[in-house]
């Protein structure tokens, strides 16, 4: 059941990002929704789930990417995992608490891309990539993560209340 849900999620999310959301690029920077979702899954369900979903989303992105095969796969799997590790050590459970961890994950992922894609093109290209692509994208991904987390927290809580279950799950209660 969970595998089917994750497969459906990755397929539909990737298709949505590659087509409908591709024209959404404020200030010329496109937020990476797949990265944000991999991080949020890591936050909610733990590092291993984050890694698996990140791996799936990254692999799909790699299939339709103009860059070398594997970059998205490893970076998304890595950030999904890292987000899960962050979540285990995060005391603040408010929706906005994901901003800094997602920003850090996005920055790390973008650093790999920066080194891979702009290596050997001169310091100017590297600095431009760092200042005008990496940093804005990290901030944008963090903001998108706050919104997505806020929506998911509301939906999560409503669903649990509707089903007559406590709003917090067992792990959260234990913590």
């Amino acid at each position: 059941m969970k595998i089917s849900a994750y497969t459906l999620l990755t397929l539909s999310l990737f298709s949505f990002q590659a087509t409908v959301l591709s024209s959404f690029n404020p200030f010329g920077i496109q937020p990476d929704f797949c990265l944000v979702i991999a991080c949020l899954i890591g936050f909610r369900t733990g590092p291993v789930h984050g890694l698996i979903v990140g791996f799936g989303l990254g692999f799909l992105q790699d299939l339709f990417s103009a860059g070398p095969f594997g970059l998205h796969t490893f970076t998304k799997a890595g950030v999904g995992f890292l987000a899960g590790v962050f979540a285990r050590n995060l005391s603040n459970r408010e929706p906005h608490a994901v901003f800094v961890p997602v920003m850090a994950c996005s920055g790390l992922s973008a650093m790999v891309f920066l080194l891979w894609s702009r290596m050997g093109m001169g310091l100017g290209e590297m600095l431009y990539g760092f200042s005008y692509i990496l940093l804005p994208q990290a901030v944008l991904d963090g903001l998108v993560a706050i919104m997505a987390n806020w929506v998911s927290v509301r939906w999560w809580s409503k669903r649990r209340i509707h089903e007559g279950r406590p709003v917090m799950n067992r792990r959260e209660v234990r913590q």
Partner: protein
């Protein structure tokens, strides 16, 4: 205890250890053996790409339908349609003007020669942009034509307005084109007026530059840059863009010019993939072209 890193909890799970180990080993293998890992990824990914292309194409069709519906019936239906037609006409006319200009230059050069060879038309496959590469680091578009339609890697991608990019990856029913504005794409180009040749490469700023021009080149702002047709999958004389800035290299050995690309990558909808940059009959016979006459 919350708010602090707990290594015991983190490393306690066996699944976690295995996951980390697999990820690290795979990444190291990917970094150290790039060709082998690319081959593996390609072998696994290619069959999957055709399957994944189905929802992507479906979503693209839905997106296009909704956009067109919105444009036609809600937002200024008459004007938007007229505007679109006019834009298409302008693009076609720009391409036509450039082609005629190129032919005029060629006619001037070749008029003095007796052996005039007519420029044969290229063979192309029309494709539609169904999606975009979801990354700010590689500017690519997903096209709805793939190997089943004769599309192969390294083929050129053009529009009536000029050069759009080059095919870098293919699957059965789709292909990925890297756009001219990407710093990772290099094509052979030349200044149309002066015939100086150089390497055309994208920049992170979304512009294009032509590098390694001769230092004595008389290139100036407003000059037109076209493909040289010497290498790559492009025919000769396809418009790349217009020169906006000329600068000397630091060592003074070359000139570099910045170009505004003719094709706006954000507005790409339909493209032509150059299957064959020149028809086989355009190639002169070997004994006439290459073998020097004997004494």
């Amino acid at each position: 205890m919350r708010g602090r890193f707990r290594p015991g909890v983190f490393w306690g799970s066996g699944v976690m250890r295995v996951s980390v180990a697999v990820l690290v080993i795979a990444f190291v293998a990917f970094a150290l053996l790039p060709q082998q890992s690319q081959f593996l990824f390609h072998a696994f990914g290619e069959p999957l790409a055709d399957f994944v292309a189905i929802p992507v194409k479906g979503m693209a069709t839905l997106d296009r339908t909704l956009r067109e519906w919105w444009m036609q019936y809600i937002a200024l239906q008459g004007l938007s349609q007229q505007n679109r037609q006019l834009r298409e006409t302008i693009q076609q006319l720009n391409g036509e003007v450039n082609r005629l200009r190129e032919q005029a230059y060629m006619a001037e050069r070749l008029a003095s020669l007796l052996e005039f060879q007519e420029d044969k038309s290229v063979r192309t496959v029309a494709a539609r942009v169904i999606g975009r590469s979801a990354s700010n680091w590689y500017q690519g578009v997903i096209l709805n034509k793939g190997e089943d339609d004769g599309v192969r890697e390294q083929m050129g991608v053009i529009t009536p307005a000029g050069v759009a990019g080059r095919i870098v990856r293919t699957s059965g029913s789709t292909s990925i084109a890297l756009l001219t504005t990407d710093p990772n794409l290099v094509i052979a180009g030349m200044i149309q007026r002066t015939r100086d040749e150089g390497m055309v490469q994208g920049t992170s700023q979304g512009l294009v530059r032509i590098k390694y021009l001769p230092p004595l080149s008389s290139v100036k702002t407003g000059d037109v840059v076209v493909t040289s047709g010497l290498t790559g999958g492009f025919p000769r004389g396809v418009l790349i863009g217009e020169v906006v800035l000329v600068e000397e290299s630091k060592d003074g050995l070359f000139r570099t010019v910045q170009i505004v690309p003719a094709v706006k990558s954000r507005h790409l909808d339909e493209v032509l993939i150059v299957v064959s940059p020149r028809s086989p009959e355009a190639v002169p016979p070997l004994d006439h072209a290459l073998i020097a006459p004997g004494p």
